[in-house]
Every structure is written in C-alpha cells, then in structure tokens.
C-alpha cells in the first residue's frame, strides 16, 4: 500500500513556522532570564535579544497576516466543535489502541478540530495577553507622555506578561510532543520541513 502524499505546507508557511519557532524559543529563553529564573546571557543581553526577537516576530506577523488573507489560509483557524470529542477520545484512548486517526488532513483542512481550537485559543487569548502586556512593559518609560500612567502599574503588566509566558511555554511543550503523534515519530516534523505530508498511513503496520 503506497502512501498518499499531499503538499500541505507551502514554502512561506514553513518559513513562517520555523522562524517563528526560533523567535519564540529565543524569547522563552531570554524572557525567563529577564524574569530572574536563571542567568545565562546576562540581564542586559537578555533584554536586548528579547526585544529584538519581539520586533522581528511582529514584523514576521505583519507579513504572515498579509499572507493569510491573500491566500485565504486564515480559514484554517476557524473553529468547529464538530469532531472535537472524537479527537479528545483519540488522544486519550484511540492512540493507544492503534485506532484510526479520526481526522483526515487535506489541503483545505490541515488542522484537526482540536488543533483549530488550540490555535484559536492561542490567537485569541494568550497572544493578546503577551503582546499587549509585552508592549506596555517595553514602553513603560513612555506611559507618562502617552497619558496612560495613571491606569497602569508595572507590577501587573509584568505579572500578566509572565503569565502569558508560562502559558505559551506550556503550549510549546505540548505542541512539540504532539508532533510525535503522526504515523511515525518524526512524520509531522518532516512534513513541516518538506511541506509534504503522508496521509492515510494508519492502516499500514509498522
């Protein structure tokens, strides 16, 4: 039985994913150093790289949002509650019994329903939490001239940013783990590198 290969991640998408991954990892490492969790680069360098990575990611996002809308790929993030339970059931039980994956990836539907929900949560909650608190944090020195100083307090901004950091870090580890749940451990990662995903492989015995 030969695998069906579909070209699922386009070149820009892959570039976006991996550069974003690099930037987020950089920000996790430097961010927790700024938080005081450990000393690695030194506080000053950590702040420097954290800020640089943040601006780079914002720039990347500007291009990516443009790309999402011009290609219509943004629809991939529309949530649907349909089959979410099936996915939960698969991750909790089916996966151990070698049950078939309830979702079939296609070019127009590359994310399973649980993934859609997770990415939407990321986009709707964690990401605004991080970016709003992060930008306020970065521009703390300008609060007075922006006329927002009386409404804000650095501690809460910093704590909100830290909370966002913990959440995205937890997401990161879950995300990385779930990449191993393809038909082989590295199948998903390979797809994100080459763009080609082998689908319909669950009948094949290893």
């Amino acid at each position: 039985m030969s695998a069906e290969r579909i070209y699922i991640y386009k070149r820009y998408e892959r570039f976006w994913h991996w550069s974003q991954a690099l930037l987020i990892i950089t920000m996790m490492i430097t961010g927790f150093e700024v938080h005081g969790s450990y000393a690695l680069l030194g506080f000053e360098q950590a702040v420097h790289f954290h800020t640089l990575a943040a601006w780079t990611l914002l720039t990347l996002w500007a291009f990516t949002i443009f790309w999402q809308f011009t290609t219509g790929e943004w629809k991939q993030y529309l949530p649907s509650l349909k089959n979410v339970l099936a996915m939960v059931n698969y991750y909790l039980i089916g996966i151990f019994r070698d049950a078939p994956h309830p979702f079939r990836k296609t070019v127009v539907q590359k994310h399973n329903p649980l993934q859609r929900l997770a990415y939407l949560a990321l986009l709707a909650f964690i990401s605004p939490l991080i970016w709003v608190s992060g930008l306020l944090y970065l521009f703390y020195g300008n609060w007075q001239e922006l006329g927002i100083a009386q409404y804000l307090n650095l501690e809460w901004v910093a704590v909100a940013h830290t909370l966002g950091a913990f959440l995205i870090t937890a997401f990161f580890f879950i995300h990385v783990y779930l990449t191993t749940t393809g038909h082989t451990v590295f199948a998903h990662i390979k797809a994100m590198i080459t763009g080609w995903e082998e689908v319909d492989e669950h009948h094949k015995k290893h």
């Binding site: 938080h35 019994r97 704590v159 830290t162 191993t180």
Partner: protein, 544 residues
C-alpha cells in the same frame, strides 16, 4: 642650498627634542590644574602697583585685592563659603556649618580656631565674629595659583606668618608662604584650591565625603572621567559654576532631577547637574534614558566611592574616646593599613575603600538636623538618630534613586533635654576634650559657650548620616551592569528599594507556581502519554 636645509632641519629637530623633553617633566597636580589652558586673563597681576607688597598678613593682601575688585568682598560675604549659613530652599530651615549637626566633629561652636581653618576668611576665633568686615575675606584660599598658600589648621583661617614647628615637638619647622609672590600670581580657582578644604572635610584627606579626596588632584580616567587629564580634564568650578562668588550645587538641597537639561547661556549658569552638560537623553538606548526618570545618573555611573586609593571614614564612635594607657598617655592605635583605628581624642574609626553606595529615594528634601533640634523627630524605628534623612518614594514624581555614603556614628547627647550636645574639643584650656579627655568638662564647656540648655547628663547615641555620592564618575564602560540591580540575589544593589516592581528581582509567587506547574504538567503529560504509547504498541506487537 644644502647647508641651509640642514640648518633648518637641525633647528627643527632640536626644537622637537626640547618639546619632547618638556613633556617628560613631571608636573605637580597644582600645575596640571592650572596649566590646563591659558587663562586668557586680561590682567597680569604681577605687574600691578597695588600688589607690589610686601605683604605680611592675609588681610593685607585682601585689602590690596579689594582696591581694584571693589565688589568682590561683598559678593563673597553673601556666599556660604563666608557665612557658613544657608537656608534650605526646600525646607526653609537655617543650615550651614553654623547650625547643621553632623556625625564627624560635631559643632564648630567653641572649636572655632580649628574649624575655621577652612573658612573663606580670617580671624573667626569665637562666636562673636564680625561677618561684616570685608578685610577678613580670604581671597587667596581660592585664587592662589602657586599651590603654596596654606591656611594653617589651627589659626582661625590664617596661613603661617612666622616659621613654626609643626607638629609641636616634631622638630619639623614649617616655613610661612610668600604672600607677596602668591598675591602676584592669583587666578581662577583650580581643583587644588577647592580641594584644600573639600577633599579634607572632617579633619583629613577623604574623611568625610567618600567621593572627594586628594586622589582627584591627578585622577586616572577610571577614577574620574571628568577630571582625568586624559579625560575631560575639568576643574571643580566647571560644574560648580560661580555667579558673583556664589557657588552652585549644595548638599542640603541637591537637585534630585534636572528637568531642564542643557544649561544654555540664557539660563542660570548653574551647571552642578549631569544634565546641564549631558542633556536629558544622553544614551543611545531609549530604555536607558527612561531609567533616568527614576534613577539618578550617579547611581549607575559611580559604581563605588573612595576608589582613588584613599580610605574614607565609614564609622566614628565617640563613645570610646578618652582611653589612656598605664602611663596615663592617651592611646592611639593604627590598623594594618596605617589608618588610625582608635584615637583617644576621637574614639573608634572604621574605614572603607571602593565602597558600594547605599541607595535611597530622594526628592529634593533633606531633613537635616540642626545642633539645637530635639532628637525625637529624627529617630528611626530602631532608635538610631538619622541626622539628614532624605525624603522620597517610588510614587513621588520628583524622586529618583540616589547613591549615598552612609556614615555611621555614635556621639554624645543630652538624654534629659533630648538634644545633641556641643562638645568642646579643641583649645589649650582645661576643658577641651582633645587636651583633657574628660567628657563631663568638655560637653559642659561647649554647651555653656554655645548658650544651649544642658541637663548636665550625657550619653551616647547611634547616628546615621547620608552623604550624596556625586563625584568620581567612572567611564561609561565601568557603569554598574544591569544585573547588579535586576537580580533576585539578596545582595542586589537595590535590595533595600522595595516599593517598586524591579524586573529580574520581583515576581508574583502564585503566578510562578501556577506557571511552573503548567510547564511541568505539559512536559510530564507528554512524557507519560508517550510512555503509554510505547508500552501499548510493544504489547500489540508482542500479541501479533
């Protein structure tokens, strides 16, 4: 043609050689300060009829100066250098050496001839000094450029007029300065002039301030980027600008935050702030400029004080003074570094070199205690007397975090009247402490002389005093690294500043706990899930 060329070349070469040689001659600090640039003065004082001399005393020289500079005396007589009195702009309180208390020598009262060796005048021998006599103004202390004018320590502001054995019994004869020559070589004040008093405050080199000592006469660039000859090579009055003989910059009301920035010719000619020359945005990075909203420049740019190799006094405990040995001789003990660690005259001393400052909020208000004040308003919660508490907090928009030398003291006070006391320390009489070593007598004499109420009882109280650290600015690459404040270490520089959220130091423990659990849960969940996958797959494979 040829001999001609070689002649020119020869002259040129020998000229170069002599120039090089001239540059090799070591120059004294006084010369270095003076030789900085041609003064551009339009008067050669050595050619003036009025300065022909000969001059036998300081006041004679002053009279000659005033014969031309007929406003100078009146100007000086308005200045703190003369009055030793200043009204704080922020508290309205009358301060200055005449009134303010400190935890060094205590009070000038009853000790005048010794203390007034640093008065910008002559003859202040007792409390009935005539502050209106302009012939007592000392022009030379500030305007001598020869480096040879010295006000002798014990003569109420006078220099030596006759050869004298100093110290007594040492066999060393000190010659009086040549006042005529000095008068003919006056000029703008250099660092040696200011330093004669300000480097030696508290009775000796480096004793009082911590950031002012004789190492600044010829500092390396790393000690003082402004005063080093290979740095900006500036003198004191380049920042402490004078207007009609009034100095700018005062420790009773240091400007906590200069919001004006560059000092332009139309401004008040007061350059005693960093911003006067460096402006309000001296850094390339906005983040650093914004730090200056809350952090004084000095806080980062003076990493340590007493960096010039001369120790400053950090502790002065008067309570142990007066000890005598078995032969009845007063005891003096030196430590391994040659510093007097105990003196029967003054008690126990502690010293510090390369000292990290203490950091406090400061908003322009110094609660400086006067010698006549009741102590109660100045006691902190530990019962320690804070003689000049600085005011400010994170919420105060005028306040910034400033560096201080925290001087520790223990000194006599009146536990009944609850005031500090005037201790009569200096004088060849039968009550002065430094001659008789008897507090009963010396305090009574001091209080009687001052005319302050005294119960007759004395005890010793622990005291603290804040000395602004604003000199010895290091080159920028030696500024305090970010992580010395932004650290969880209990040894962080700002560990005592707790009313701010300091990134890298502060956190919310609940969020950290929740977040930590979330990360552990994410990793652990993945590991367990993965493990179960491996196990179940093995089982399946075995079954087949």
């Amino acid at each position: 043609m040829k001999p001609h060329v070689s002649l020119i070349a020869g002259i040129f070469l020998s000229l170069c050689a002599s120039l090089a040689q001239a540059a090799d001659i070591p120059i004294s600090p006084a010369q270095a300060a003076v030789a900085k640039a041609p003064s551009g003065s339009t008067t050669d004082h050595s050619k003036l009829e009025a300065l022909k001399g000969p001059f036998k005393t300081g006041p004679e020289v002053t009279k000659a100066c005033l014969s031309c500079h007929n406003e100078a005396g009146h100007q000086v007589m308005k200045s703190i250098h003369w009055t030793w009195e200043a009204t704080s702009k922020t508290t309205g309180k009358k301060l200055g050496k005449q009134h303010a208390a400190n935890n060094f020598c205590g009070s000038t009262l009853s000790n005048e001839p010794r203390c007034t060796s640093c008065h910008a005048g002559y003859n202040w021998t007792d409390k009935n000094y005539d502050f209106a006599n302009q012939e007592n103004v000392d022009c030379l202390a500030c305007h001598d450029t020869t480096g040879s004018y010295k006000k002798i320590a014990t003569d109420a502001g006078h220099p030596l007029y006759e050869p004298r054995e100093i110290p007594k019994g040492s066999g060393k004869i000190v010659q009086p300065p040549d006042l005529t020559r000095i008068a003919q070589h006056v000029g703008a004040p250099g660092r040696q002039n200011c330093g004669a008093c300000h480097f030696n405050g508290g009775g000796g080199d480096a004793v009082k301030h911590g950031d002012l000592d004789t190492s600044l006469l010829k500092p390396s660039k790393s000690l003082d980027v402004h005063m080093a000859s290979d740095g900006a090579n500036m003198g004191c009055s380049d920042c402490h600008t004078f207007n009609a003989h009034q100095p700018s910059g005062s420790r009773y009301a240091v400007n906590p935050k200069d919001t004006k920035g560059f000092d332009l010719p139309v401004d008040d000619h007061n350059r005693a702030t960093c911003e006067s020359c460096h402006g309000l945005k001296p850094h390339q990075e906005a983040k650093l400029n914004h730090h200056a909203d809350k952090v004084a420049c000095q806080t980062c740019h003076i990493p340590e004080f007493a960096r010039g190799g001369i120790a400053t006094k950090m502790l002065w405990d008067w309570s142990t003074a007066g000890r005598k040995d078995e032969n009845g001789k007063p005891v003096y003990i030196k430590d391994d570094h040659g510093h007097l660690s105990y003196s029967a005259e003054k008690g126990d001393f502690g010293y510090g070199e390369n000292v990290r400052p203490k950091y406090r909020w400061y908003n322009g208000v110094v609660h400086q205690m006067a010698i006549t004040d009741k102590i109660d308003a100045y006691l902190n919660q530990d019962g320690i007397l804070e003689m000049n508490r600085v005011e400010g907090s994170a919420r105060d928009p005028k306040a910034r975090i400033w560096p201080f030398k925290e001087m520790h003291g223990k000194q006599p006070y009146d536990p009944v009247n609850r005031t500090l006391v005037v201790n009569h320390v200096y004088g060849a009489d039968d009550t002065a402490f430094w001659t008789n070593f008897d507090y009963e007598k010396s305090i009574k004499a001091g209080m009687d002389y001052a005319g302050f109420p005294y119960s007759g009882k004395f005890d010793f109280i622990e005291t603290r005093m804040n000395w602004f650290i604003t000199h010895m600015v290091a080159p920028k690459d030696q500024a305090v690294p970010c992580a010395e404040c932004h650290t969880r270490s209990s040894d962080g520089r700002l560990a005592e500043i707790t009313d701010i959220y300091l990134p890298g130091r502060d956190r919310n423990p609940w969020i950290d706990l929740f977040g930590g659990l979330a990360i552990v849960g994410a990793i652990g969940g993945g590991l367990i899930h993965g493990l179960v996958r491996i196990i179940t797959r093995r089982r399946k494979e075995n079954e087949q």
